[in-house]
């Protein structure tokens, strides 16, 4: 144990992003000592160049963020989504989700990732017993015995009864615990950028299902919208390499002219799209949460929401066990987390994968079916309400944090 780093903790969290940070706040807030290990320097993560994306936060995960004191830091910079309009290419059928169908609460909020990151880091600083070690890297995992042990790159070791991997799609902890991954690549790329438009978006989100994939327009502050433009992988590089005015032209015809003149602000980003899930989300004294457990097509904006639902369930299971004096890394405790999350995450993966396959398709009969399907969903109030509730994170047996209750 070189250095003055406290060696023993209640929980080790690998990855200090939204999921790892929120989980650390939840567990340490309940009195457990947590060590969050992140390979990125926190100050570098706040740079606008680090992550140009925005996230849609559903109602239930927003309640969790508020409970953890995170939402308060981004509230001013968040844009409510009061309406979602789904259009299938050139088809006349519209699927229209209006939040007043479900009550007064907005369907969700759009937040720029850099603002959310700042909020998570600010909250992490205020929680006693939450130790943030960054930049740092774990290089070895030892699961033998009654404590799991991580060796860091600088040779120090840290140990705890439980280690949680919140280290994203390429999770190091998942590989170290030898948990197999199932993965599909979509041969699609997500092009992400921000546009400024002449007219107000009136807090409406749009999803256009185009033949190459969904094209989403998500409302931000100051007459800006975040674009998530799914494109065939073989076409994307050419689009990304276009000069500014030609890129704007390609974007404009997909966007439409309903918000007036457009202007691209800031850089363009691209992410290869894939769906992947860990074949199990727990192992001996190991649990996975967020993208490390399952990462999906961004079509329904559910990735981060699912990650925060993982946080709510895992925090509740761990804290409940600890309040009974039980070993928080025991198989029984982790099994409860796995079975609680299984249905929810598999349903979401199947739903978003199915939607993408259905809509990334220009075959005439499929078009007709989905045109009729969209119109049918529009007229089936209960099904629509169910889909909306799920998009808002309301379905299933909700953990306390998602209900906005104290952990």
């Amino acid at each position: 144990m070189a250095g003055n780093l406290e060696n023993r903790h209640d929980v080790l969290i690998v990855g200090g992003g939204f999921v790892g940070g929120a989980l650390g706040c939840a567990l340490a807030g309940a009195g457990l000592s947590c060590l969050v290990i992140d390979h990125d320097d926190p100050s570098a993560q706040l740079d606008a160049g680090f992550d140009g994306r925005s996230s849609a936060i559903a109602a239930a995960p927003r309640r969790l963020l508020r409970r953890l004191g995170i939402w308060q830091h981004v509230e001013e910079k968040a844009t409510p989504i009061e309406d979602i309009r789904v259009a299938d290419g050139s088809s006349p059928f519209f699927l229209h989700y209006d939040h007043t169908d479900l009550g007064e609460e907005p369907l969700g909020h759009m937040v720029e990732n850099r603002h959310l990151r700042q909020a998570v880091l600010a909250s992490m600083k205020t929680v006693p017993r939450l130790h943030h070690l960054a930049p740092a890297e774990a290089v070895a995992l030892d699961q033998e015995g009654s404590r799991v042990r991580l060796t860091l790159k600088d040779g120090r070791t840290v140990e705890a009864p439980l280690v949680i991997g919140c280290d994203g799609r390429g999770s190091w902890l998942r590989s170290a615990a030898e948990i197999p991954l199932t993965k599909w690549s979509y041969e699609q790329v997500g092009i992400v950028c921000t546009v400024r438009h002449e007219r107000s978006h009136d807090n409406v989100a749009h999803e256009h299902f185009l033949p190459s994939g969904p094209f989403a327009i998500l409302p931000l502050t100051d007459n800006r919208s975040s674009i998530v433009w799914t494109e065939k992988a073989n076409l994307a590089p050419a689009l990304l390499a276009l000069p500014d005015n030609a890129f704007l032209e390609e974007l404009s015809w997909r966007f439409g002219d309903f918000l007036g003149k457009l202007e691209v602000t800031g850089p363009r980003w691209s992410y290869p799209l894939s769906l992947q899930f860990a074949q199990r989300i727990t192992d001996r004294r190991v649990a996975l949460a967020g993208d490390a457990a399952q990462a999906m097509h961004p079509i329904a904006g559910q990735g981060l929401n699912l990650g925060l639902r993982d946080v709510a369930a895992l925090a509740e299971v761990v804290v409940d066990a600890r309040r009974l004096g039980l070993d928080i890394g025991a198989g029984k405790v982790l099994d409860r987390y796995a079975s609680w999350r299984r249905f929810d995450s598999h349903l979401m993966l199947a739903l978003t994968d199915g939607l993408n396959r259905l809509f990334s398709n220009d075959v005439a009969p499929v078009r007709v079916v989905r045109d009729v399907g969209l119109a049918a969903v529009e007229h089936m109030a209960p099904l629509k309400a169910y889909l909306m509730r799920h998009a808002m994170g309301e379905a299933g047996n909700l953990p306390r944090l998602l209900k906005g209750e104290a952990l």
């Binding site: 023993r8 309940a30 009195g31 457990l32 015995g145 009654s146 404590r147 009864p161 066990a321 600890r322 309040r323 009974l324 004096g325 039980l326 070993d327 025991a330 198989g331 029984k332």
Partner: protein
């Protein structure tokens, strides 16, 4: 240890040996003590909530039992002893079987918990004159040879104003069917021969033992199994497994 066994007025020798043979299995969550692991959350909830109410503690704190002195009679491998220590209590674990105590002490050391484990009977500890805030008597009464002598010794360990929590099996037709025939022979939850139904204790008999030692019964609850969820919870049905808490006047 020999002297402890020879002085054993309350522990039945054949029962002690049966549990000793299982020392290594105590912490296997899927092994022969699997049901005990499953019962643990419900019975600890009962213990914690009553002790917190009685001693004015916050049950939501992770050190809700901080500083309380607790003796766990018939602690086995420490399934209940360790959670009490983790909640901050100063715990003494007693068991008549030395093998169980050795396994328990090794496990506690590995978990980084400080617990005073002793191969002893309650009357051995009572003879020292030491008293405790709390005595836990969990799933022990149905195994002892002389219940009256056992409660005299266990009761003497509780300080005035302290509490005793007892968990045991009721002597009903239902418990014969479920706890004896069902759990031992049909479901194989516990090895056949674990329980002798004739030693099971009715709540009224238990209350009488406690009152005789100067205790007032505070609460009685059943432990109910839910087959679909494979979980146990606290309920009002005391026909099979039940818990009783009493306070010493």
């Amino acid at each position: 240890m020999n002297s402890a066994r020879q002085s054993a007025t309350t522990a039945a020798q054949d029962e002690v040996e049966r549990f000793a043979a299982q020392a290594d299995d105590w912490w296997d969550e899927t092994g022969i003590f699997g049901q005990l692991h499953k019962i643990n959350p419900a019975r600890i909830t009962f213990i914690r909530d009553h002790l917190c109410a009685h001693f004015g503690r916050d049950p939501m704190a992770i050190d809700s039992l901080k500083g309380l002195t607790i003796v766990d009679i018939g602690c086995g491998g420490g399934l209940l002893t360790e959670p009490m220590a983790r909640l901050g209590a100063e715990v003494t674990g007693l068991d008549a079987a030395a093998e169980g105590i050795v396994a328990a002490a090794a496990h506690a050391r590995e978990m980084g918990l400080s617990i005073d484990y002793q191969t002893a009977l309650p009357e051995d500890l009572a003879a020292t004159g030491r008293t405790f805030d709390v005595v836990l008597n969990m799933e022990v009464v149905e195994h002892v040879a002389d219940p009256a002598a056992f409660f005299a010794a266990a009761g003497a360990l509780v300080r005035p104003g302290g509490a005793m929590v007892v968990a045991t099996l009721n002597r009903t037709i239902k418990s014969l069917a479920l706890a004896k025939i069902g759990a031992e022979y049909l479901l194989r939850w516990v090895p056949p021969g674990t329980h002798d139904w004739r030693k099971f204790v009715k709540p009224s008999e238990l209350a009488r033992h406690l009152r005789r030692e100067g205790f007032s019964v505070v609460d009685l609850k059943g432990l109910v199994y839910h087959p679909a969820a494979d979980e146990w919870s606290l309920g009002d049905d005391v026909d099979v497994n039940y818990l009783m808490v009493a306070v010493k006047d």
